[in-house]
């Protein structure tokens, strides 16, 4: 048996995933094995396909070729509605632009899908919502509307909204890139705590510091493939590949 499989248990498995947008091939065969509870940071220059990879995992972008398995069950494949429902129930996602529902209050943002998708009662959903919003330090904003919140606060609401669905895997797509610098820490703190609680996380980020301390594994992507992966120390401090060195050189200069 392959070493990767035996050490990781294949909780989430990507096999030779391809994705193209018209003539542009964005993912050129990506393999990735994620164990339960593992925190993986995906680094890479813009256009390397890391966001697309994340979006493939919950089928916002269905891959054209290759397979994705979650808990041993294949979720990919044309017309695989069951796989789609399976993955959307188990995988939460947080976006760069927050994407909160502007017509709903903070609490309603967190309760809406609980009510419609999980059929929770209003009381149950609100209870869970309050608990999560308290955890991210927003208990005093329950009735505010998103446009009254700072970007950092909005992003913490978005994280709560995803967590309210009790996901097994969380995807973070450059969640601090749209934030003012002073607001980044609050969001990263929430993510650190989540990582510490044993959540399986795939994090696309430019925050090298976060990757270094919170990730179990760092994946470096470029040009639609995984160039290098390993422990944070190894990939960030002593990268083997030239492309990784170049990228980190540019990022760490600042």
């Amino acid at each position: 048996m392959e070493q990767a499989t035996s050490s990781n248990g294949g909780f989430l498995r990507l096999e030779d995933v391809h994705k193209r947008f018209g003539p542009l091939e964005v993912l050129k065969g990506v393999n990735l094995d994620v164990a339960q509870g593992e925190v993986i940071c995906i680094l890479g220059p813009s256009g390397s396909g890391k966001s697309t990879l994340l979006r493939c995992v919950n089928l916002l972008e269905p891959p054209e070729a290759g397979r994705i398995l979650l808990e041993g069950k294949e979720i990919t494949g044309a017309g695989n509605r069951e796989g789609l429902d399976f993955v959307r129930r188990r995988v939460g996602m947080v976006f760069q632009q927050f994407n909160l529902f502007p017509h709903k209050s903070v609490l309603e943002n967190v309760t809406m899908a609980q009510r419609t998708v999980l059929d929770r009662s209003e009381k149950e959903a609100a209870e869970r919502g309050r608990e999560l919003l308290e955890r991210v330090g927003l208990s005093d904003k329950l009735d505010e509307y998103p446009d009254r919140l700072s970007g950092g606060q909005q992003q913490r609401v978005a994280i709560s909204r995803a967590l309210a669905m009790d996901p097994e895997v969380m995807l973070f797509d450059e969640v601090t890139s749209a934030l003012d610098p002073e607001l980044v820490k609050g969001v990263l703190d929430v993510m650190r705590e989540l990582a510490g609680s044993g959540m399986t996380m795939l994090v696309v980020t430019h925050e090298i510091g976060f990757a270094r301390e919170a990730a179990n594994r760092v994946v470096f992507m470029d040009d639609g493939v995984v160039v290098e992966e390993g422990s944070p120390d190894q990939v960030i401090d002593s990268p083997r590949e030239q492309r990784t060195k170049q990228f980190l050189g540019l990022v760490l200069e600042h």
């Binding site: 916002l60 996602m93 976006f95 529902f101 502007p102 017509h103 998103p146 446009d147």
Partner: protein, 273 residues
């Protein structure tokens, strides 16, 4: 000069109790027709807009006919729709003159007199709904398309179905965005209700014409015009207020929804604009 003033503003004609009551009664029909047809058009238009967005390969079977419907009814004059609806429904509900066979439509449907209102009223509601539903569908569509893609992605990533996402996330935001243009179209709808006079509804225009025929004086028609203006100008101002509010929000970079914050926008130099 007196002659001219008298032709348009003869207070004796305008406020003659019989004439005045007739015009007011007619205008009351206009108002009721506008409200009923307005509501049915808004609902029908929303239905058309949603059908027009049906996703997927098979959705084309719904999208195609819906687009065709919208194109056709936006292209046919309202007056023609009113004539076709009223004359054809009445004919289909009547017995065949030669053979004596019953009409194909039941009488309650072909010659509708629901809620004690005359058939021309309901023909007007049906015809206006057919036409304005198509107009409103296009307005809603603009609103639906203006909701950022990220909203759909967020809803879908939370496990919501397409229908749940439409109903709870997209439609509420889309409707909010298009309230000003919908109100604008409602003003047009209101004015178009006067066309129903051609099939014998004594609404405000027909009332004015009847009086004009008796008195050879246009003052009753002018009274009708004044009544219209009393309603449409405040509506138009309301549209302006809503548009201005929306623009303030957009300029501030807010994503819409919720009440406008009370603090002044951080941008400067716009106050005098």
């Amino acid at each position: 000069m007196d002659r001219i003033l008298q032709e348009y503003f003869d207070l004796g004609v305008m406020f003659d109790p019989d004439n005045f009551d007739k015009v007011i009664d007619g205008f009351w029909f206009t108002i009721r027709l506008s409200i009923v047809a307005g509501i049915t058009s808004l609902l029908f238009g929303l239905l058309l807009a949603v059908l027009r967005q049906t996703p997927g390969k098979w959705g084309g079977l719904v999208r195609g006919p819906t687009i065709a419907y919208i194109d056709v009814f936006r292209g046919v004059p309202q007056l023609l729709t009113i004539l076709i609806v009223s004359l054809s429904l009445a004919a289909l509900a009547s017995p065949n003159l030669e053979t004596g066979e019953d009409g194909v439509l039941p009488r309650w449907l072909g010659i509708p007199e629901w809620f004690g209102l005359p058939a021309p009223f309901w023909y007007g509601v049906i015809a206006i709904t057919l036409t304005y539903g198509a107009y409103f569908a296009e307005v809603y569509r603009a609103g639906i398309e203006a909701v950022p893609e990220g909203q759909t992605e967020a809803a879908r990533s939370l496990g919501m179905s397409y229908a749940q996402c439409m109903r709870q996330v997209i439609i509420p935001q889309a409707v909010r965005k298009v309230i000003p243009p919908l109100l604008n179209d409602f003003i047009a709808l209101m004015k178009d209700t006067t066309l129903v006079s051609v099939i014998g509804l004594i609404e405000v225009v027909q009332a004015g014409r009847d009086i004009q025929n008796l008195e050879f004086n246009s003052s009753a028609l002018m009274l009708g015009a004044i009544l219209f203006i009393l309603v449409t100008i405040p509506l138009a101002r309301q549209v302006d207020v809503l548009i201005a509010r929306e623009q303030r929000k957009t300029r501030r970079g807010g994503s819409g929804g919720g009440d406008a914050p009370s603090e002044p926008p951080p941008t400067t130099g716009m106050a005098g604009a």
